[in-house]
């Protein structure tokens, strides 16, 4: 499928999605509540068949957080980026571990570094940070650590 066909398919699946095509890959912006049903359709629709979640990350924009999912299809060879704004004080989004298994570790990483709460995640605990770190999110822009950080 080319980008135009994906655009039509997305508009069909989720009319509220905002489509953007300024970057390298076709990007859509969605509401967090729409993510899980859309993800299932992106994975299971035969024409789309996004079977590979090759990047899952988060960005802190100070006013809000943005979850970023990079999806590709190893069969159709097309790529899609899904972005979703999250509330900084109550960041929560459904997990996609059941759809793409790789999300399990990536979501744990985003959880520990940005404090995003992945609902229904099977094993949401710290991945890399030392034990007892809970409650501080080092990749948030307002993270303070007077002991280890030398400020510029």
């Amino acid at each position: 499928m080319n980008n135009e066909q994906i655009k039509i398919a997305i508009a069909d699946l989720l009319p509220s999605a905002i489509i953007e095509e300024s970057s390298e890959w076709l990007t859509i912006h969605i509401e967090p509540v729409d993510w899980l049903p859309l993800a299932e359709k992106l994975r299971n629709t035969a024409e789309l068949y996004f079977d590979y979640l090759f990047c899952l990350t988060c960005v802190d924009w100070k006013s809000h957080l943005t979850m970023v999912y990079h999806l590709t299809s190893t069969f159709h060879r097309h790529t899609l980026v899904v972005k979703s704004k999250l509330d900084r004080d109550d960041a929560r989004i459904e997990t996609v571990t059941m759809i793409w298994r790789t999300a399990e570790f990536h979501e744990r990483e985003v959880y520990e570094l940005f404090g995003v709460n992945f609902l229904h995640h099977p094993d949401l605990r710290l991945l890399i940070l030392p034990d007892g770190w809970e409650g501080k999110y080092p990749l948030r822009k307002d993270f303070e650590d007077p002991v280890n950080i030398i400020k510029l």
Binding site: I128, P130, P138, F143, D145, N148, I149, I150, K151, L152
Partner: protein, 208 residues
């Protein structure tokens, strides 16, 4: 050299007559005691029935140690790629006696800190260093191992210089340093060992 010799194509090659050379050798070889070069430390006196070598045992030990340094296979980031390049065919650190890279600290003499040391890696690095047998030497490769480098400011997880954890003998600048820089650092370490100036050698108690 015969007409059909396999090296006959090399017109300028001259065969060396080794029997002549031994006759032309001087009675006393002008080998100075010089720790700065890789030359064996000591003076050779030719006497009838064989030569006599005069040297200091310390210098001979230092010379021997400096020429067979076994690095530990240890790399934490991109510097390790340069280290691998230094080890492989193009730069080939075995030319300087470093080829026996060991995957266990028990058998290694020198640890090249090739990469960023994060807080979580710090105790591991300390343990590896402690497990190495004496005498042991440390090279801090690149900006991260020297000072934290690009991660000096505004980072919660990076150690600001590996010398906060273990003592370092030689520092290399660069991000990452080129293989030539690593080779230079290794040769510098060898010179330091020959001169008896490494931290390890200075620390050792002198006999009365």
């Amino acid at each position: 050299m015969g007409k059909y010799s396999p090296v006959g194509a090399l017109k300028n090659v001259k065969m060396v007559d080794f029997s002549k050379i031994s006759k032309e050798m001087p009675k006393i070889l002008p080998l100075k005691q010089d720790h700065e070069t890789a030359v064996f430390p000591g003076e050779v006196y030719n006497t009838p029935g064989g030569g006599i070598l005069l040297s200091k045992l310390d210098n001979v030990i230092n010379w021997a140690r400096s020429n067979s340094l076994w690095p530990l296979v240890f790399g934490t980031s991109c510097c390790a790629i340069e280290m691998m390049s230094t080890a492989s065919a193009k730069y080939d650190w075995s030319r300087f006696g470093f080829e026996v890279a060991r995957a266990t600290p028990r058998q290694a003499d020198v640890i090249i800190i090739a990469g960023t040391i994060v807080n979580k890696m710090a105790p591991v690095l300390k343990r590896l260093y402690d497990q190495m047998g004496d005498p042991k030497y440390v090279i801090a490769m690149g900006a991260c191992a020297t000072s934290g480098g690009p991660f000096f400011y505004n980072t919660y997880s990076v150690v600001k210089g590996a010398d906060h954890i273990i003592p370092v003998d030689v520092y290399i600048a660069g991000c990452p340093p080129r293989p030539e820089a690593l080779l230079h650092a290794m040769i510098t370490l060898q010179e330091k060992i020959r001169k008896g100036l490494t931290r390890e050698q200075i620390r050792m108690p002198k006999p009365e």
